[in-house]
Amino acid sequence: MPITVLQARRGWQTIDLARLWRFRDLLLFMALRDIKVRYKQTALGAVWAVLQPFAMMVVIAVFLGRFTGVTSPVFLYAGLLPWTFFAASVNGSTNSLVSNAGMLRKIYFPRLILPVAAVGAPLMDYMVAFTVLAGLMAWYGVAPTFDILLLPLLVLLTVVAALGVGVTLSAMTVRFRDFRYVVPFLIQVMFFATPVIYPIHLPWLVRLNPMGGTIAAFRAAVTGEPIDFVALACSGAIACIMLAVGLALFARAERKFADLV
């Protein structure tokens, strides 16, 4: 019979992995909930998942192509697709605690479930929007190379990077709603600091950026260019470090959520 001891906790906490594992089905159901609800009462439904990166691609090709010199739809879409996934995940994670405030106040469950489950719906969108990438590649006659097999790893690294930012910001948003307004701004800045719509040209900046190497590698895998593995490794390592820091901060802040939210 499990014995639970409740008392005041102070300072840094460890994450109870066993408890998290027991609630794994909740993670699934919360993600499914978001997916089911996402496009309820919309006329276009899941088409929105495609429309967002696609419209961005057109706009950027037409208006910014002149400055960046890049107008290839495959090149742009292959950058915008993982970027959209990243941005939507960060946004969803950050707001997940505040938008489920009622649950935080009235039910116990591992709070970490919320920001992690918030990645589910963007992941679904990502997979839907991926079909369009396949279509574009076929249309423009771009054949994938064996590097495309790296895709699961790249998706995983994107999730790690998104959670690294999102888990931290979600915990901070509980206390200060300011961070909700920081997110769109932060994403905007990162968008231009990351080689989403232009090729790598400041290698050190790309390596320091948790999404830099990952996005470049995704595009290289699709267009068949050589992958910059140094940049990928650096970005991946930075994303992992950010996630570790985020989890530590989250575990420390967690016990106050119900009183503050």
Partner: protein
Amino acid sequence: MTTHRHQPVIHVAGLGKRYRLGGQARLDQTLPEVISDSMRRIFARKPRRTAPRKANTDFWALRDVSFSIERGEVIGVIGRNGAGKSTLLKILAQITDPTEGRAQLRGRVASLLEVGTGFHPELTGRENIYLNGAIMSMTRREIKAKFDDIVAFSGVEAFLDTPVKRYSSGMAVRLAFSVAAHLDPEILIIDEVLAVGDAAFQKKCLGKMQDIATSEGRTVLFVSHNMDSIMHLSTKVMVMDGGRTGGIEPVESGVKRYFAAMAEHDSTPLLDRPRKFSAGRPPVFDNLRILGPDDQANVIPCGGAMRVLIDLANMQSIQQGECGIVITNEQGQRVAILQSRYHANMTLEGTSITRIECEVPSLSLVPGTYQVDLSMVDNARMIEYVDCAGRFEVVFADVLGTGRLPNSKQGHLVIPATWKKAA
């Protein structure tokens, strides 16, 4: 093994919970202040300056609470509003940490503190059962195994594939309770949630709670304002008052003490009673009298006239005061509000007013006990709220001329009506 059996299921020692005024910790600090404070703390040579903690900004919702509960007991937790019942339940349900003391729980804990938390209005009943079960720590397989039982108990079979937003609140309660009741917890914690359901389902739930405790040897801790269900269901009770408790005691003595505490509360002058809310200014409500016809205090025959007399104090700074008399029934549901502005376009200003009076020519409430709260709003801002400033009884009177009246389970109001047989 035998020593194991004699260990209490719930053991609580010296439990306390402190809130900063306003119910939240240090929200008086803005983000830049927090950052500069922590920077100063990191870089300062001097030891960390302990901020002078003003004692009057602290509020202990719970203090020095100790008790033990044995296996298979059904404990009714009773006390006035603000006595700390919900805070205690929140700590035991692991939603919030105590500030001091500790609690030890043996076994799986399930809690139902609010109906339908975690229900998503857009999802169907079926989807919500899975989601809600998972929130309460059930695995997919467990939910699947109990699914039919949950549905059968809730009685919403016909609406399983309807979004929950189309459910009545009664149906949502039934579904939520059914999920919680089928959780097989060793410890079940229930706040006053059943008040929402209809009488028949309430009975069913109470029966289920009793089953859980007696035949399955599980422990139930529940809050209720309804002394009827407390006396029916509990094996022992715990009376809470002002965040403290004398511990677990027999039902009869506990209920008696609860009523005595209520009576004592009622005999304290209104001016001296604690406020549920006050905007940091001296109290304005000085005295309250509720009179029936023939000036009988606190008893009004159904359909009879009621006069409410309120003495005011410390009104100097009030510019556009609006006084509200809130009437709540025994189930804790608000029945009506008599508001000076709504009813008479009357606002209060300055020192000259010391007494106001509200008269209801015919009080058409069903017989029962009602609670009166008083509120004062100035310039659209709440400045004072007194919980349970008074109480009155509506007694039977033959207003319908048939010798019968609806009771409090059938409705709230007695509305005169004519009936005839159409030819």
